[in-house]
């Protein structure tokens, strides 16, 4: 099978490799940085009642309903080298998002955030607060209760949120290309590369190879998540 594939469509060429590695790097950092904030936001939305609860919820969901191009453009406005956030970052720390792979990671993180938060919020809402009460009567401080009871019980949902966000980051196109363009080797992720190859005559082979890689990564991510989730669920006992 692999042999046949290699002879038919060839192995990955250098620019394609670059796109794959870049996509993986972008998705990795996007998920890593949005994880703590995602867990916190999901927990806050699930458990805390605070003024502006609805507003935070709406903001989190915004990237899900806005056209990705709009999100990308808004990011460009805010984080561009002349933008209100991008400019001080550049001047003070020499750190740039616009037209850099870091920008792609930022775009992917924001686009994946609603998916991540939704899954995690659901998981936190499923945790029985009465178990947390029981832990408190056994002498655990609130943070320890959260760490030893709430978090382990919400783990399957947290894993699900992680995988969703990772998959989204691997496939994000609109916001990324608008914000950081499509520079091979620098900001060209798998979807942008596929798009670029399809624009030029004779690029179909390259596009097809990337599509296969993309499918393989997505399927393995979902399978890995399934296994992890099942393991966490079993460790967490039967759910109600």
């Amino acid at each position: 099978m692999a042999q046949w594939l290699t002879t038919q469509i060839g192995w990955l060429a250098e620019p394609e490799w670059q796109a794959v590695l870049l996509s993986l790097r972008v998705a990795f950092w996007a998920v890593l940085f949005s994880l703590p904030l995602g867990v916190l936001t999901a927990f806050a939305l699930a458990r805390w009642r605070f003024p502006g609860h609805g507003l935070v919820n709406a903001l989190v969901h915004l990237p899900l309903v806005l056209p990705p191009v709009v999100t990308g453009y808004l990011l460009l406005l805010a984080f561009g080298t002349q933008g209100p956030i991008g400019r001080p970052l550049d001047e003070l720390f020499g750190f740039r998002f616009a037209f850099e792979w870091t920008g792609a990671a930022l775009a992917c993180a924001i686009m994946g955030f609603p998916l991540m938060v939704r899954a995690m919020r659901l998981a936190f809402e499923m945790v029985d607060p009465r178990l947390e009460e029981a832990a408190a009567t056994l002498g655990s401080r609130p943070f320890v209760v959260w760490l030893t009871v709430t978090l382990p019980l919400a783990l399957p949902g947290i894993i699900a949120g992680l995988v969703l966000a990772f998959a989204k980051a691997m496939g994000e196109f609109g916001a990324t290309i608008t914000f950081v363009s499509n520079i091979p080797g620098r900001t060209q992720t798998i979807p942008s590369a596929i798009y670029a190859f399809l624009q030029v005559p004779g690029g179909e082979q390259s596009a097809l190879r990337l599509i296969l890689v993309s499918v393989a990564i997505s399927v393995s991510a979902v399978l890995a998540a399934e296994i992890l989730e099942r393991r966490a669920r079993r460790a967490g006992g039967l759910r109600r």
């Binding site: 029985d128 009465r130 178990l131 009460e133 029981a134 832990a135 408190a136 009567t137 056994l138 002498g139 655990s140 401080r141 609130p142 320890v144 209760v145 030893t148 009871v149 382990p152 019980l153 460790a235 967490g236 006992g237 039967l238 759910r239």
Partner: protein, 362 residues
Amino acid sequence: MSLDVAIERQQGAFTLECAFTAPAGITALFGVSGAGKTTVLKAIAGLVTPDSGHIRLGERTLFDAGAKINAPIHTRRIGYVFQDARLFPHLTVAGNLRYGARKSADVSAGDVETMAEFLGLHDKLRRKPSGLSGGEAQRVAIGRALMSKPSLLLMDEPLSGLDENRRTEVLGLIERLQEQTGVPILYVSHAKDEVVRLAETVVVLANGRVQQEGRPDLLLEPSSAGATSHLPARLVAKNASDGLSELSVPGGRLLVPQVDAPLGAQMSVGIASRDVIIARERPSGLSALNILPAVVAAIEEDAGDAGPSVRLVLMVGDAQIEATITRRSRQLLELAPGQSVYAIIKAVALGQTSGAVATVEI
């Protein structure tokens, strides 16, 4: 270590206004569902905050609205056995027990083993709670609470939802743990038999208020036809020659078949109102052995005047028992309140503090 509770709390239309003290030993908080029993427990554990009042445990003030003291839950050292066990589903039995001991740094595997042995769950240590029966889960919950070395143990109807065998099993465990650890227990229940068997003190709650406070036999007032009265009893003699034991009860002595308990053991004697026969004079030429002098305290007709029976409330010594007799007998004997009579007791149910309840006819 005594517990001193005086709290008020408004919950919607329900007002909890409750003050009582619980000495060492097992104190029962008794009342129907909705009387506010669980709210009292939650307030003591710190899971709800009263509007006013105070909660003191020995020297420690856990809550005092006036002094603005409200100790956080995790600092109170109060074990709570919930009605629904609330075991951590992600931990094994051993993990749950160990969680109880989280705060005591030096808990060894041996302590967990010892506790499991005490609970009779030695072979279930590696099970997850989802693989336990209701009785087993409740025992783990009790063990988990004990592992936190609490200075007070709260138990919220730990036997509800268990079948008869499991109830006996967990009841026995509670009695043993009180004997072995001496930890004071506040036990919530709406089942009289549990309370009479376990508790040394009972606090009766109704509509959020303390109605009565005292020894468990206060529960055994006349309530419904065919009710059972309970008398506190002490084993005073065992007669080997005829196999009878002698119990001292308020107002006299009772003979029962040999009791398997040491002399001086405290028990409770249940007397069904249908097992009491009334005589105007001390009967002679009767096979019954147990005859107590009594005074008619009250005569209650059934509401609606329908049935053939009336209920007598009798004073024997300083305690009360109830008798159900026919309307006709009452007229024939010309019974009236204040009258001295003899109560012939046909059968009693013996409750020991460390054994099953058995009904014996004599």
